[in-house]
Amino acid sequence: AAGVIQSPRHLIKEKRETATLKCYPIPRHDTVYWYQQGPGQDPQFLISFYEKMQSDKGSIPDRFSAQQFSDYHSELNMSSLELGDSALYFCASSSSTGNQPQHFGDGTRLSIL
């Protein structure tokens, strides 16, 4: 079965640079979520989109922005990167039809030098 696809899998950036993470949800899933998992930490919710509209917002820095496109894929844009942004970034998707759990991608590991 198709899963959530995230790209790139690994990304190395320097401080103050920008990064764009991409997420392709499972087909027919209309909701996308972004989470950040620091080293040794549990995943923390950043932001979510339902039908291309932002549906909820968590502890996402103002330097970050995200959107969901007409084909339901989503991008997380990160600017003025800081050392503390080094983390594993997960995208998850779900269907709003019935009780559906979130399915996670393998994540993008972002390292800031």
Binding site: Y35, Y50, A92, S96, P101
Partner: protein, 117 residues
């Protein structure tokens, strides 16, 4: 504020032994409950979920979990652990947000499971 607590940071068991990982949540209503497993550097794989109904839910890889409303708990169990079960396990809750399932997940701190041969 809602919270999820996994009291055990690290558990070590012998292969073939039984396993129970604890999870407690703090929220006024009954949330949706999940267990995810994460191998090092990998994504989160859904083990099982509870939305409503039967409080004992079966998942993949021989895992089960029991929802106990009176104790606000959702403990994960497996009768016989295999070496391949070594990983980190996260309990998560989702608050149902009305007519659509766009509720965020709140995770516990995770429990690292080590399996001795």
């Amino acid at each position: 504020a809602q919270s999820v607590t996994q009291p055990d940071i690290h558990i070590t068991v012998s292969e073939g032994a039984s396993l129970e990982l604890r999870c407690n949540y703090s929220y006024g209503a009954t949330p949706y409950l999940f267990w995810y497993v994460q191998s090092p550097g990998q994504g989160l794989q859904l083990l099982l979920k509870y939305f409503s109904g039967d409080t004992l839910v079966q998942g993949i890889k021989g895992f089960e979990a029991e929802f106990k409303r009176s104790q606000s708990s959702f403990n994960l169990r497996k009768p016989s652990v295999h070496w391949s079960d070594a990983a980190e396990y996260f309990c998560a809750v989702e608050i149902y947000a009305g007519g659509t399932s766009y509720g965020k997940l709140t995770f516990g701190q995770g429990t690292i499971l080590t399996v001795h041969p």
